[in-house]
């Protein structure tokens, strides 16, 4: 067990990678065996994430140096800086890994039925596992260049998955748009990494943070990294690819893409807090993040209401909800140089934003899966043509209600708990921001009331008389996320104190991350 724990950081990345390349082989022999392998591997990865999380919460940061005599030997003998590929997992990284593992498992179980009629399922699962590898890699890596590599893996696999159902013209278009914006973004990340490497001769985030001189080139790199990750997480006005891709991807993939975007949000926070540092005046950068968040919240939700494609509506809500996370963490970033403000409300605002990340992954994942269930049964995503589906799809309706009430921040659901933390703390920073956030929540409720009314209520329509409830595996996939929402709703304190606050502190405490790699090196 100890060995398993020691090597768990690399196993969490390597197992999905291995399975990605095993699936084509096993898929040739048996489709069922392939499906069992994919689900079992993700369940095992979830187990590894849980034991690693437990150890991190008890014993602190895990460092894993690939190729070293001992995995925790970050700096080789006679060297002053780390040179190997290093994974550094703190409470923030493992928080993201918990989200990725849970949503990926639910989405894969869901996809077993959803993709059953599709051709090329083996390729689907290979790409899906590669997307999972990219996400885990992004949140685990302690190295800026490897972050670029994993970002690329996630982007390429994601684009292929968006375009997977090539019989739909809009799927190919969505995949194309996703790969174009991802390639442009990755190029800028590479350029920023080059600027930093040219100055400091290191790529490790901890070592770079330790050596950071805050030169003009560093400012250019910072601007590039902030905006690329803001685009990849879907912040307005860089969000336009989000509805184009989320709407056309298979439902399970849309749910995982939400987490993939959150991995970019993690990268944004890691760059701002850890790479550039907590000891500096980050007021300007904090306000940039806050403004991106406010605009995303408001424009995202107002653009969601007029949508009549149920998945486009949900995609705009994904943009809007990302705004809450940016607002909460942005406020923490803006007051990072003010210990009193940080202690009074900044840490609380950050915790609210980070709690909203996991809540959003669960309810938005669930909502995308319910939209997929509707598509699976009625064959389209057009709310104008839907109606009365609640008569036949009762369980899906219940899942939709859980997700919709949660995203709208209705008590006692988990969405309310994180928004409550954001409202209360942001109000102390700037009351206008909190009022706008509440207004956005109200419009979110109105938008989902529309979607629910249009799809599920009303008399049973003649064209949908033969519609049945979604297949079992799809219900299980939705059930996993719904159960997580209910659990988070009933025990928000447990989640906040044991998972969220350690993640917040990991971001605030830049020194701990740096010393995880550099030890006592000045």
């Amino acid at each position: 067990m100890d060995k398993l724990l020691t090597h768990s950081p690399i196993l969490i990345i390597a197992i999905p990678l291995l399975v990605a390349f095993l699936t084509p082989l096993i898929g040739r022999a048996s489709g069922k065996a392939r499906n069992v392998l994919v689900v079992a591997s993700l369940a095992f990865v979830e187990f590894l994430v849980i034991i690693l999380a437990r150890d991190i919460y008890l014993n602190g940061i895990h460092v894993y140096a690939l190729g070293a005599a001992s995995p925790n030997l970050a700096i080789p003998e006679h060297f002053m800086v780390p040179v190997r590929i290093i994974l550094e997992i703190d409470a923030m990284s493992i928080f993201m890994a918990i989200i990725a593992a849970t949503v990926a498992l639910a989405a894969v179980i869901y996809s077993l039925s959803f993709m059953k009629q599709e051709t090329g399922q083996t390729r689907f699962y290979t790409l899906l596992m590669l997307l999972v590898v990219g996400m885990f890699g992004m949140v685990f890596t302690g190295d800026l260049f490897n972050m670029f590599v994993f970002l690329e893996i996630a982007s390429i696999a994601g684009a292929a998955l968006v375009a997977f159902r090539t019989r739909f013209a809009d799927a190919a278009e969505g995949g194309f748009k996703y790969i174009v914006i991802s390639a442009a973004g990755a190029l800028m990340v590479l350029f920023a990494v080059g600027l930093l490497y040219a100055q400091y001769n290191v790529l490790n985030i901890g070592a770079l943070a330790n050596a950071m001189q805050f030169s003009m080139l560093d400012k250019i790199a910072l601007a590039l990294l902030i905006i690329v990750f803001a685009m990849k997480l879907g912040a307005i006005p860089l969000h336009m690819w989000v509805p184009d891709t989320y709407a056309v991807a298979p439902a399970g993939v849309s749910a995982i893409l939400v987490v993939s975007s959150q991995a970019s949000m993690y990268a944004l926070f890691r760059v701002c807090f850890t790479l550039y540092g907590a000891t500096l005046n980050m007021y300007t950068v904090g306000w940039i993040v806050i403004i991106l968040g406010m605009v995303s919240m408001f424009v995202g939700v107002t653009m969601a209401i007029p949508q009549t494609d149920i998945k486009r509506l949900m995609a705009f809500h994904a943009v809007s909800q990302s705004g809450y996370m940016l607002l909460g963490v942005g406020v923490g970033l803006a007051v990072l140089g003010d210990p009193h403000a940080l202690a009074t409300y900044g840490r609380e605002a950050m915790s609210g934003g980070i709690f909203h990340i996991i809540n959003h992954a669960m309810y938005k994942g669930l909502l995308f899966l319910t939209a997929g269930a509707l598509f699976y049964r009625v064959g389209h995503r057009d709310l104008n043509r839907m109606g009365g589906l609640g008569h036949k799809m009762k369980i899906t309706s219940i899942f939709f209600i859980i997700g919709a009430l949660s995203i709208a921040g209705i008590p006692p659901f988990n969405g309310f708990a994180s928004k409550f933390m954001i409202y209360e703390s942001v109000y102390q920073f700037n009351p206008i921001l909190a009022v706008i956030a509440m207004l956005v929540s109200l419009i979110t409720l109105a938008s989902f009331a529309k979607a629910f009314q249009a799809a599920f209520t009303g008399p049973q329509l003649p064209e949908y008389k033969d519609v049945k409830e979604a297949p079992k595996s799809m219900l299980i996939g939705m059930g996993i996320l719904a159960a997580a929402i209910v659990f988070f709703s009933i025990c928000p304190g447990l989640i906040v104190h044991h998972i969220v606050e350690p993640a917040t502190d990991a971001l605030i405490n830049q020194g701990a991350y740096v010393s995880g790699i550099m030890g006592g090196t000045p």
Partner: protein, 111 residues
């Protein structure tokens, strides 16, 4: 339970309150008219006209919040127009925002 700077959030307390409220509502309902019959009495009354056929009685998505969109036309027209769906425009926004953020960082001293 979550404690905030000016209060707390306890979902269990909220759920118990909600259950009590629901029980009260159920009690009031149970005191209602016992002679109510399903069928004609539960049908929607539309100016004594016959009920609409199935499929026609459902309010479709594009009819919901019509007034909201009309009232905010000045906001919606340019916002929807900005969503061109053309990937070239996405990249222009991307480059534009990078430029703006760089200028802000340089002017303000940024970090």
């Amino acid at each position: 339970m979550i404690e905030s700077p000016s209060g707390f959030w306890g979902p269990v307390v909220w759920i118990i309150t909600a259950v009590v409220a629901l029980l009260i509502a159920y009690f009031i309902r149970s005191r209602g008219e016992k002679a109510h019959k399903k069928g004609v009495q539960s049908e929607t009354f539309l100016m004594a006209n016959p009920s609409l056929p199935e499929g026609k009685a459902h309010v479709r998505a594009h009819n919901i919040y019509w007034g909201f969109f009309e009232g905010l036309r000045k906001y919606y027209d340019p916002t929807i127009t900005a969503h061109t769906g053309i990937v070239n425009d996405y990249i222009i926004w991307f480059i534009g925002v990078i430029a703006i953020v760089m200028i802000i960082l340089f002017v303000s001293g940024g970090i």
